[in-house]
Symmetry: D2
Subunit: 434 residues, 4 copies
């Protein structure tokens, strides 16, 4: 039998807290899960620094990837007999679902910004490079790795397949909303996925939702909205990310300046040069990063040492509301005062805006955005969701930005110059008290 | 106000998926959570290698410790007005609950066996040594750290306090059963804790359960029984532990033999000498261990490299049922055949017996065991649970041992001498097929 | 000890699927639950005819009333130490919570419309009249029954107490949303009540919500919105209500016309006269109504018999979208055609509009409405919810009406005059097909 | 297309709180659900008088029947490709599952005992008599109603089909355990049905369970055990049943004695004669029974009136532990004292033993019992569950009887002869206090 059609002797099941069971029948899928590149996802947390805010959020991208695969598997089971679904695309869709996050590195967002990387490029490299994953995929048929890469890259010709993984109501989001809600323990994030799967219909170039399922979809959009504000944009999580960015920035600066590390950051060298090879990229998982951070606590550079201590032992920065556009003067003054007090503002003062984060709750029709949700009318026509739903209309396309100023409250308390200290505190806390 | 009575301005809450919220009002508790020794528990998994079997089991001892604290907090809220409860012991009980697992190292069981350590000794050291935790506890009153240590060590005079943390139905077990069930996703592990908390009664030297709550307790014991067989003794988890032990054994042997490591295992030196200092012990968390394992894949020693590759990328050993007492000849023959084939049996062949594991589902009255469960009769008398419950009686004290033989199935396939290979396979698989 | 302060020897608990346990310590509450007027609520379904759409919705107003009591009990436990809460109002609040639905009759909405009754009047009568409930309440103190009646009637002077039972986020709604979701089995209707209870703050004249709890409240409002469209306004439920109304209308008409019933509707006489005494009102629960309906299937009046058969054996009317304002001519023509065909349109044709139903999802500031939700700012100020929440703003005050035309599809099939039948079907179904 | 193969244009779904959705594709099933005999099950509670103990237990046999159907549907979906399953039996199995409880009357157990009826006989009559159900089934093929009746009667030749509905682990039990747990709100009753369905294997004459699923089955048996003691045998529920039986006994006695009822119990006449016709049987649902009970509160016979008042308004009998075999003298004395005091002991004194109830938690191999559970070994052999499971062994076949003596505590308080009263109270309560 051709490898692409090969089935396991007996179905394998993974016990999954979100979907109860993840079912695997295809040998290709089973082999992919066993590759070192896929196993590596166990060492990258799904929610980065969120575990420092919600202690349950220790789950990895490994379980999320299995979850996305399982959702697509269930969708395709429902599609099997639909005329608009091409069963030949089944294995391709499953592989793309399973592997869509393969390129994520440690604490993705912060690392990508600090070293100007893009995890999507690395997903492509892993699929197409000299990897175990590539060898498994190549066994299916010539050009199969490229097909998988194209689906994940949204350039594949069959847009229906693309939309399973990447649209406003794709398997990726349906999994992470439920999974992140489950592990953090919040009550948001629940919606009736079983119902949504039942009202999905394959069209030529996208998945549409039967109009009778509109309320279930509204509920899904609301879950997303709530999860973003309650979990993904949480200011404490962002505080940890600020510190993380500062550590990377400091380490790189020290490296560029020829600083002698006690523990040479060999894993980081190519990152500092902004040109890690694929192998170097894969080597740097969160265990390795955390190993360095723990070691660096003992470095003699006081800034690197302090920031690592803060991250590892969760001595985070405090924050206040702060609008950089309206409070430019206060910002400048603070910056100067920090310098005066010997607290380097480049590492100890930061404005973070939630709108920088790569999340949206629902934006139909924006340039380069994911496909919006279309409702299938009884007469076969399509209508975009926000045109039919008042609730979705009310939140779609709106950009709600939340600016926070982060700073080390404990360090400020230790500033020896009393006047400078009081002035800093006046700016930071005075605003709130007056 | 005395530090021991100090309350936070506003109650702090942790969102917890198992108990919904963990509530903190006492400043002492809040400060303890912030110490580096307690934060370190985020880097030690609650279930060791179980995440390689149940992918959801990535939760840490940090969240478990918060959970045990929360359960004791709720128990004591119910006890407040009981004449047999001494409210002065409240803070002590909460501290002991929070800190009872403080000494756990990475992958506890395997490490303790390999290096002849005992996590309980380290818990004592952390409480009484030069640590942040000790400084917080010392602020309560002189001798307070010792009191906490005594409660955890079960030598404290007030046995009622001890039994909250350590008995057959203590807060420790009630948390881990529910938490491990939640994160693995199995349906066992659920019982009606709310009901159990309501029927707990403080007596002079223990917590008793009102007889009317017997069925809830039976359900708890059954959950425990199911969890042990379904989760804690799972043969795949044990396969990973076997490999882990072999890695440690190999590294130590190489070290003793003067092998030149590419990456010197500085963190391990004192462990190899079986005498880590407190600081060295605390430094070695699971991130650090995993860092070494990943690096060692590139060591030139083929055994160390192979075993690390297996652990990191989950290429585990296979297993068969095997009773070492009845199959001694087979064992000897296998051992010799492995040697002949150049597969070192000291590292590639292992019999693992579940009964070695430090778990019991319910054993009343055994030497050195935890206090059994006593039911409080309407007339004020006490009866041991298994005397009233047929179900509990049926499983109590029974030792069900499950022996497995672990081996590298893939390596065996690559043995070049065909005859030796076939003989090995005959012994391993033949038994099952005939 | 005064009766008002009397506690039960041992707390009583009711196992409740929604709140896990309902706790009773006060003898007054215990005695009220035991009265025949309260027990009668077991014989009135919480959701009227909804069980014919969602088969799980067989729960009664009895369990809902216990639930509302339990929520208020938990709120007051949190309020205990707040300066703005008067602990003397505790028992009053609990009684009002427990008894707020006491006057509901069978299939409330339809009955009230058919016989021009108001269940709120009957609640007042039961509290103040010659009843077991009144005797229990009178034991608390003189004038206590009147106080309870005033709270339920929203005329009590302490508006804070009133708002617990009757506001946009009162215990009544929090219970029924969760309870109705639980019993119907829909996934909407869940929100984080525990969080909401924690952010409620007693003010002089209302309960406010700390601003940090806004997202939890948004989620509650969204649940409400979803429940109304998915459950409360469900067109099949309304079909059953249409039939119910027609039965009552027909029975009354027959009675007025001197028709000789085989089974005299003695329980209904005073209702037909629109003047039931309190005793007569209490006698007519849903069992009694259903008894008559079953008996009336055998009445010789074909309309009464047919309608009862439809209700009892769930042979409901079908429906189409129909806007009476725009389709007046179609309506008139249908009416005439029904008459021609011998199908009395007064009983077999009905336009039902969801906006007639006494539900709103959120309307701040309308005349005579329940108090809107106020968020308590950090500075102590209050802001109305929809001014801070875009989502709530988007749905507040909007009246979304859904009109349906109900008719007996099976009866139409049996019309002997082929032309009339085709004309009727053309009007009913043609619109949809063309 | 033949009626037996006819599918609905679009699948119908029922929202079900236990199984999430019940799916119907077959027209035959849809038509059966619409029959008046099946709709009648909405008016018979699943758990009889249990709602007086657990207020959530108001669910009907209607929803249970849908649930059993859905479980069998899911089992058969898994069986589809197994060589030992005959797909021709599919519709038969589904019909039998749906209709297996069709003959249940109001408060089944008490009524059957009082009037010497057997609901199984009535199920047969409904299937084979002049009913809507029979007409639907007859449309499938000649003799089909008889086939369905045989499956339910366990006399059908294909024992595999029988075992789906009636064995120690059939769809009937799997539904009611979960459903009753859900509606009462207890935490017992949960087990991993999804897992059990996955390990079920069709054999020639029964459904077997793969040995790897043993722990899931143990959990199911434990759930059953807990549910019986916590829910089904609850002494308060039995108190209500005692009163119910006494009402029926009194009404029958009065009828036999020529008593003039104010409200003639026309629905009961044929029951009193122990010969209700099928039509008479179907007429007497729980609404009708409750109607009579409410009316009879106003009958002049003081015993009938009092007992009905007790049942309707939940003024139940109290109970004590009482072993009739050991306490025969006490029983005789009480009986005499009641007579002396003018409290008729035939209606006010009753010993009820739980072992009389038609439940068993697990009894392999008893005469006339349901098929025991067989585990399918890897080698294809079968072993009975209790031979492999120590826990199941510990409870199987054991008859645990629980005797209670029921009496009206309030009436006893009103006995005017002080000495008799004290003597009665001495016997009833003295035993416990001394």
């Amino acid at each position: 039998m051709a490898y692409r059609d090969e089935k396991l002797d007996e179905e394998k099941v993974f016990k999954d807290p979100v979907h109860r069971y993840v079912h695997v029948r295809d040998r290709v899928i089973w082999d992919l899960i066993g590759t070192r590149e896929f196993q590596r996802l166990r060492r990258v947390k799904q929610l980065g620094t969120t575990y420092l805010t919600f202690h349950g959020a220790e789950h990895s991208r490994f379980s999320h990837s299995l979850g996305v695969y399982e959702i697509v598997r269930r969708i395709l089971e429902n599609f099997r007999d639909h005329k608009d679904w091409n069963e030949d695309e089944r294995l391709l869709s499953l592989c793309a679902a399973l592997l869509h996050d393969l390129g994520h590195g440690p604490f993705s967002h912060s690392f990508e910004k600090a070293f100007r990387l893009d995890h999507e490029d690395y997903t492509q490299s892993i699929l197409l490079g000299d990897t175990e994953v590539n060898r498994v995929l190549s066994g299916v048929e010539e050009g199969f790795p490229k097909k998988v890469a194209d689906v994940i890259n949204k350039t594949y010709t069959d847009k229906l397949v693309v939309s399973l993984i990447s649209s406003q109501i794709d398997a990726d989001r349906m999994d992470y909303l439920q999974r992140d809600a489950y592990f953090t323990g919040v009550s948001y994030g629940h919606f009736d996925m079983e119902r949504i799967l039942r009202v999905m219909r394959p069209l030529e170039d996208q998945v549409a939702i039967k109009e009778s399922g509109m309320h279930a979809v509204e509920d899904y959009i609301m879950s997303r909205y709530q999860m973003y504000w309650q979990i993904y944009f949480h200011p404490v999580t962002r505080s940890a990310e600020v510190i993380l960015s500062k550590i990377l920035k400091r380490a790189k600066e020290l490296y560029k300046n020829g600083y002698e590390f006690e523990l040479k950051p060999v894993h980081f060298f190519s990152f500092f040069e902004e040109a890690p090879s694929l192998e170097e990229y894969l080597d740097l998982d969160e265990n390795v990063v955390m190993y360095y951070f723990q070691m660096w606590i003992r470095e003699k550079d006081p800034i690197l040492s302090d920031l690592c201590e803060r991250f590892v032992n969760r001595k985070l920065f405090k924050y206040i509301e702060f609008n950089p556009n309206l409070q430019m003067n206060a910002w400048r003054e603070l910056y100067d005062l920090f310098e005066e007090a010997g607290v380097d503002p480049r590492f100890y003062l930061e404005v973070d805006s939630s709108s920088d984060l790569p999340y949206d709750f629902y934006r139909p029709g924006e340039e380069g955005e994911r496909l919006p949700i279309h409702l299938l009318q009884p007469d076969g026509g399509l209508k975009e969701l926000s045109r039919l739903s008042e609730i979705v209309e009310s939140i779609s396309g709106k950009k709600r930005t939340d600016h926070k100023l982060y700073f080390p409250a404990d360090t400020i308390e230790q500033i020896s110059d009393e006047k400078t200290k009081q002035r800093i505190k006046g700016i930071l806390y005075g605003r709130e008290e007056q």
